[in-house]
């Protein structure tokens, strides 16, 4: 089980790093094997930062990330190498993961140098072919070619195959569908579904609610680095509790249901400010409101999220930076 416990990340920004930007605050959730959890948020919500922290590409500032009980932050050398056997990532732009002057085989060769040094040529070929087969690619179709000779969907599937050649049990999939065309994106989504059935735990990071709705068992909605709502996908989409989730769902263009009569266009641009006029379900449970961010002592008393119905948690509607709720 991959567990995030009150994870936070602060970036130094501005000239000489004089300012701080709290990109992720107080995020806790689990990812089990054989499950897809989608992490949905708009740009700047911290969703990619969370993925990068899990992959150890960024250091964690607060809280801990553990995989099967082992804290990820302390891993070094052989232990870190072993960690990457189990946890792998695939990113948005498939071509940026490839070196354009090498053929795509290079991706696999790097992996072989690090993890499969004692594997013979024939056995390696077989292993490579088997992993390509899991993502529905023919070796002859893609190997010995340069990245520009392949389509985005092919390279993306190739990268997934590469990530799964190890004993991968958790995959961080960061916007892996966004760059693909409509006719191929559904194939990659279905592939994730197949891998899930084989026991892979997938963290599906996206800004597209319809993709999250299609593929995931559980959904987390992120806003400005905080989880505002999480729970089974059917409950989050079917019975959204947080005003932000409701606003997102109302804005998603659907194919068989048009947006209602439009109001003032100017008002729509400032719709964000009006999010918080409804009663706050969080305060019905915790009247005092959430603890101030970072105060560990208060954290035990006031959790960031409260459970409203089985498995369905919601946070305070208040903005952490603005005044009281």
């Amino acid at each position: 089980m991959l567990t995030l416990d009150r994870v936070g990340k602060t970036y130094k920004v501005g000239l000489f790093g004089g300012k701080e930007l709290r990109a992720v605050r107080d995020v806790s959730f689990d990812l089990h094997e054989g499950e897809v959890v989608s992490l949905i948020g708009e740009s700047g919500s911290g969703k990619s930062t969370i993925g990068k922290m899990i992959l150890r590409l960024l250091a964690v500032n607060d809280g801990t990330i553990t995989v099967d009980g082992v804290d990820v932050a302390g891993l070094k050398g052989a232990a870190l190498k072993d960690y990457y056997r189990r946890v792998q990532g695939v990113f948005q732009d498939p071509f940026s993961s490839c070196n354009p002057i090498f053929k795509v085989d290079h991706l696999f060769n790097v992996l072989r140098d690090v993890y499969f040094r004692d594997l013979g040529g024939g056995a390696w070929q077989e292993k490579q072919a088997a992993s390509l087969a899991t993502v529905n690619l023919e070796p002859g179709q893609v190997l010995h070619k340069y990245p520009h000779q392949l389509s985005g969907g092919q390279v993306q599937r190739l990268l997934i195959a590469r990530a799964l050649m190890l004993d991968t049990r958790y995959l961080v999939a960061d916007e892996i569908i966004s760059m693909l065309d409509a006719s191929t994106r559904i194939d990659v989504l279905n592939l994730l579904g197949d891998l899930k059935a084989k026991g892979l735990g997938i963290l599906f990071i996206t800004h597209d609610l319809s993709l999250g709705n299609y593929i995931s068992e559980r959904t987390l909605i992120l806003r400005r680095g905080r989880v505002v709502e999480m729970g089974p996908t059917a409950l989050v989409f079917g019975n959204p509790l947080h005003p932000y989730t409701k606003a997102l769902l109302a804005a998603v263009p659907q194919l068989h249901d048009r947006w209602g009569t439009k109001g003032e266009v100017a008002a729509m641009w400032s719709a964000g400010a009006k999010l918080f006029e409804e009663p706050c379900p969080y305060h019905a449970v915790v009247p005092a409101g959430p603890a101030a961010a970072g105060s560990a002592a208060a954290a035990g008393i006031a959790p960031a999220l409260v459970e409203i119905e089985p498995g369905h948690l919601v946070g305070c509607r208040r903005d952490p930076d603005s005044g009281p709720c």
Binding site: N190, Q254, V265, A266
Partner: protein, 316 residues
């Protein structure tokens, strides 16, 4: 009749030969119509939008006519097009973030722009400020540099600038793609508002996102590999799509209001043909579940019912 395009052919020059990005495209856009143009990347939809505004050095106008409000546009002659650009045909580019001059204050830049079209900025300023208020901006932004505005603000600013001279036709190229869902909705509805207020007569909205088009477009046009596959009123297209590509495309889109559980959607196997040497006949043939012998001949783009045209032998 606002815009008539007849058999338009625009190729890209490359070392390997001509890439036939637009290969005989004919359609009409009526007054007040918002035409949604959808298709996969590389199908020629952006080329179509761009070639109506500016054919750059890489592109070659091979044939076809474009008539806007009864006047033929000299699309292959960039200098002659100057007279029409911004006045009667205008574009909101894909990257609004980088569409404004970073070294000029926005107000100064707009003044330069309208004066280049022999209009006095002072005459237009009042109208400009009214339109800024309409999209939730204040006239204060005119004294700022583009870098001081957020992405959503820049997008709105560019939309207002592009339509300032009330063009007859506006091309909006993927303008919602880089935005968050809430801004996407606001941009889309702003486009409709501009049309309703007659800031522009008609629009071509180019995007890969069919669901945005379903929300705002009056008609939908689907392109495939440099040709038009189907054009129909939006509701007709959703209810009775005739081209197999349109059908497969629409059925492959996941939606928010649906529970999927174990149900799986199907993609379209294969990939579009190269436009360097596109195959003769129907270009969707290799991926089409309905393909038969006749598909080696090119299907004509013909009207099957009022306003509904399709290029498929099986549909006609």
């Amino acid at each position: 009749m606002s815009l008539q395009v007849t058999d338009l052919r625009v190729y890209y020059r490359t070392l390997a030969g001509d890439v036939k990005a637009l290969d005989g495209v004919s359609f009409e856009v009526a007054d007040g119509e918002i035409m949604g143009l959808a298709g996969e990347s590389g199908c020629g939809k952006s080329t179509l939008g761009n070639s109506l505004v500016r054919i750059d050095g890489r592109m070659k106008h091979v044939g076809g006519r474009v008539v806007l409000d009864g006047v033929e546009l000299p699309i292959s002659d960039s200098d002659a097009m100057d007279e029409f650009r911004f006045n009667s045909i205008s574009i909101v580019p894909q990257y609004a973030m980088s569409a404004m001059n970073p070294t000029r204050k926005i107000g100064t830049m707009v003044a330069d722009l309208v004066e280049a079209r022999h209009r006095r900025f002072a005459d237009l300023r009042e109208e400009l400020e009214r339109r800024l208020v309409l999209v939730g901006l204040t006239s204060e932004v005119l004294d700022r540099y583009p870098i001081e505005l957020s992405g959503g603000m820049k997008q709105r600013m560019v939309m207002v600038i592009s339509t300032l001279l009330n063009p007859s036709l506006l091309i909006a190229d993927e303008i919602t793609s880089a935005l968050d869902v809430t801004s996407q909705k606001a941009v889309a509805q702003t486009l409709v508002e501009f049309r309703d207020r007659a800031f522009v007569d008609s629009m071509i909205v180019v995007t890969h996102d069919v669901s945005i088009l379903y929300q705002i477009a009056d008609t939908l046009t689907v392109m495939y590999a440099g040709k038009l596959a189907e054009k129909a009123p939006t509701d007709t297209m959703m209810q009775v799509p005739l081209h197999p590509y349109t059908r497969l495309l629409i059925s492959s889109l996941p939606e928010v209001g649906v529970r999927y559980e174990e149900e799986r959607l199907q993609g379209i196997p294969g990939s579009p043909p190269s436009l360097l040497n596109p195959p003769a006949g129907c270009r969707f043939r290799d991926r089409c579940p309905l393909a038969f012998e006749k598909c080696v001949e090119e299907p004509p783009f013909v009207e099957v019912s009022p306003g509904h045209a399709v290029a498929c032998w099986k549909a006609t």
